[in-house]
Symmetry: C2
Subunit: 560 residues, 2 copies
């Protein structure tokens, strides 16, 4: 490709720079361009990278025996109603009606569509297992787009769905997919951590995210120092330190407490430790039901764990008015006496403390020596706590370290979540019965991963593409007097099947070098009056260049 | 691929058969499956064919220097408003709003999007010409879907858009694209005729469709017997035979005419030839304006030509009530006396006849010896006639033959149609001026072309895929006693890089042969107890099979 005719060239306009290196470099390098917020044009250079990533994913998926196919982008809304996901989907589902009034969802994920096509084909146990995948546009009506390709509203995803006769067979595939994902990221120059996560609106019981460590990432997760445990903050577990639970129970009493409404106000007023205070947080579910979460004062409520515990899709903090409907007072809530009026969910940490203190359901009245079971009862006692760095792992043998990362993919156990909700999502067993499929699904967003590669592989001059996904292998620069020889080199490289971008413009060496550094193609070749029959070879990651013969050059390119 | 695990297998269920062989065979062969009306799942076999067609298109496009990229599926509606296409688009545009209230069109074609990205990059004449293309989902809110993949509501199209400094440069690209299209169809086993057509809602002044002859096609076009002329019925021109225009003009008169309202009623009543009658057809435009089209009685009005002549997007026949608003009568309309009351458009054929007859704008009154200019005036005289088979070509040297075909692609001159409507759609000329781009665009619907290949390449047992786009090259069948040897053959073929589908199921030879014929893979290999160390080779298009060595088999497969 001659650079003069390439659509989308390097530009050093930094007027739109953001804190995201990937956004800045991909825009400046002419890889992408914004259409509307969160929707991007892939220019030819960016599309070549995207294509190579797609090819790697396809190779790895095909090697596992997965089969590529395609489902329509417009999903009949009735399918999403079968699984009740029109109500539960975490991202806002985009819906559309056609001229005949038929309603569709713009596919944001395609579980229902794959179950639908599979049930249409009436499979038997002999046809199983199968793993079906597609590359297709996904639509997410995100409230805010962010960071260029890192959080977008439209993107191409590889999504795969596997169908099994039972859990045992599924677990084998889950391992196969985990291994394939590991290879994909490695081949793209990324080190991705496999982190246990929450299934969210996808459903199912467990899943893993692939996280690439980055301060800019939206994901917060914990790994243990010994490397044996990793989990997203949404689900991370820890061992809760004992406090004073061996002390004697003292008599419950209430006192006047002219104080503010924060936890710190309570600590200051009573001169007691934070952990001895009870933290009471009132939430409302999507249906308006109130739920009181209580937890040890030094811990925070993990809303995802809480939502799962009570089977809610979404939670919000209750308003002060809602608090008062329970005959209590914001800042002075207490579980004592609220049983029966509101569902009370207590964290297991409450067992590590006795003689706790907190509000007394009346403005400027506090209670002392509050004790579980004796003074109040829980409707549910479970883990609803947010992990914190430095906490012990659940088994007590290691310590949690906090990380931030960019989520570049995920694999999900779905179990019977879809096959039991959707009619006839069954196969014929050996004994002739109709049994529901045991399922899994596996997602890979290409654009976000592409941006992540740039976040991890760049310097202050530009991108450093891993050779596996570079838009071209060679960036050939002809300088004054080297044009003829450059044409020879260009043709020889192309004949040898090496992808080469030839900057043949009448620009200065400085301009051309800066453009090459920005674009980040792995090998730079210079042909000028001075290089004669040789070429100057420089790796993008190296500072030194060397003069080599054309044969040696072809040899190196062929092997890179 | 082992057939037992292939998702989507042959079925001989003919309960959903239609008149379209492609639909029946693609469904039965497990290539596609319907999701909702006009939206299809591509199953793995069908997707492999689709992928191979895509690869051919990409190869041919890249060879011309065109650059692949991708624009978002959701087009900001404001872009379509810039070109006023929200009103003029022939197919119903699908629109959607996001949660922030931003409005989008679901891309049905992407002229505005490509102009938008090109103008964002501020090109100069040095960057031109460029031809940019994408493969992407297109949405058409068709009132009726039809014939499986032949008329759908969602499909993958290769659409390309070229940008030039002037018409001369564009014309070169138009020829380059025409040649590339010819090669694409040839490589897919299709003979496609290049037929001049109407630009329709795409805009521009001329274009060509690629039509594959088929009785099932929706397109009607004309070719001249000498092969020099071909044009869609919408725009086909012809030489209008002289009738009696050398005769003396007779005096205009009106007579009582107790007759029906058809042209035939007029012929019978007056015992005069059909061609001497004036055909008057009243139309209404999208804005409700009435337009009277008149033409020689033996010809029909071509509504596309008429719409272009008056600059209307759509036309409909006027109602009887609308006719009467002009103080005339259905079945008795005459241009005489209607000038000024309604716009009158006359076909050039009116010049080939004198002393015409027809209605007199009053029920049961007719006029005789109506003559143009003397008795009535036209607001516009132009070609608004529909061609008919047997008519002479415009230059009179050949005769028109009628054909029906399936439109499998098209190339359009756009000229300045978009660049003059969209702000800043300009490049910097050598002299530093901002000049509008001269443009063209080039479309190729893959799914419809795939179905057309099946229409042209099948027999009563199934599909006969051209090797270039067959899902697999070899259909290996192992029969009882041949399983071990078949595994050897399978592995050798795969190692040699030959795509092979191995039917290793425990089914009868009859079932396996029928499935192989239906699937239509070019080469069938049988390995059984009888074949020993050899294999039985049969081409799908041949009746005879032969026993050959595995080496010979590998040799043949490698060369096919």
């Amino acid at each position: 490709m001659k650079y003069s005719k390439l659509f989308g060239k390097a530009t050093f306009d930094s007027s739109k720079d953001s804190k995201f290196a990937s956004y800045n470099l991909l825009i400046k390098g002419g890889f992408i361009r914004e259409s509307s917020a969160g929707r991007f044009f892939f220019l030819p250079l960016g599309w070549r990278v995207h294509d190579k990533m797609k090819a790697i994913i396809k190779e790895e998926m095909d090697a596992t025996g997965a089969q590529e196919m395609l489902v329509p982008t417009l999903h009949p809304l009735g399918l999403w109603e079968e699984t009740n996901r029109t109500n539960s989907v975490g991202f806002e589902l985009m819906k559309i009606k056609d001229r005949n009034g038929a309603e569709f969802a713009l596919g944001g994920t395609a579980e229902e569509m794959f179950v639908d096509v599979v049930r249409k084909l009436h499979l038997s146990h002999k046809d199983l297992p199968i793993n079906l995948y597609q590359f297709s546009n996904k639509f997410r009506d995100e409230f805010r787009a962010r960071g260029g390709l890192l959080r977008v509203r439209e993107f191409i995803m590889k999504d795969a769905y596997s169908f099994h006769t039972n859990e045992e067979d599924f677990l084998k595939e889950y391992e196969v997919m985990a291994a394939a994902y590991k290879r994909m990221y490695q081949r793209m120059g990324l080190e991705a951590l496999q982190v246990a996560a929450d299934n969210g609106y996808i459903g199912g019981e467990y899943c893993h995210e692939y996280q690439v460590e980055s301060e800019l990432g939206e994901g917060r997760f914990f790994v243990s120092e010994d490397g044996k445990y990793s989990a997203h903050e949404d689900i991370a577990e820890f061992e809760c330190e004992e406090k004073n639970s061996n002390e004697e129970l003292l008599e419950y009493e209430e006192v006047d407490a002219i104080r503010g409404t924060t936890m710190e106000d309570g600590v200051k007023f009573h001169h007691l430790p934070l952990w001895q205070q009870i933290k009471d947080v009132l939430f409302a579910t999507e249906s308006g039901e109130l739920v009181l979460a209580i937890i040890r004062g030094d811990l925070d409520v993990n809303e995802i764990k809480l939502a799962h515990a009570i089977g809610a899709h979404t939670l919000r903090h209750a308003t002060e008015e809602e608090v008062r409907t329970l005959d209590t007072e914001p800042g002075f809530i207490s579980p004592v006496g609220l049983s029966g009026k509101v569902k009370i969910i207590g964290d297991t940490s409450l067992r590590t403390v006795v003689n706790a203190y907190g509000g007394a359901n009346v403005l400027h009245r506090d209670a002392l020596n509050i004790n579980i079971d004796r003074d109040y009862q829980l409707d549910l006692e479970t883990d609803i706590a947010m992990a914190q760095p430095g906490f012990k792992t659940r088994d007590g043998t290691s310590t949690l370290v906090e990380k931030r990362g960019i989520e570049v993919g995920n694999i999900f156990q779905l179990g019977y979540h879809y096959s039991k909700k959707m009619k006839d999502a069954t196969f014929t067993s050996e004994s002739g019965e109709q049994l529901p499929f045991y399922m899994g699904c596996y997602g890979f967003g290409i654009g976000r991963t592409l941006a992540t590669v740039v976040e991890k592989h760049h310097d202050d001059r530009g991108i450093l593409w891993p050779a596996s996904i570079a838009p071209y292998q060679v960036h050939l620069i002809s300088l004054q007097g080297g044009e003829e020889q450059a044409a020879v080199v260009y043709n020889k490289l192309q004949t040898a099947g090496i992808e080469v971008l030839w900057d043949e413009r009448e620009e200065s060496a400085g301009v051309k070098f800066a453009d090459a550094d920005l674009l980040g193609i792995p090998t730079r070749l210079i042909v000028s009056k001075k290089t004669g029959n040789q070429v100057e070879w420089k790796a993008r990651t190296d500072e030194k260049s060397e003069l080599i013969s054309l044969d040696e050059c072809l040899n190196r390119c062929g092997n890179s």
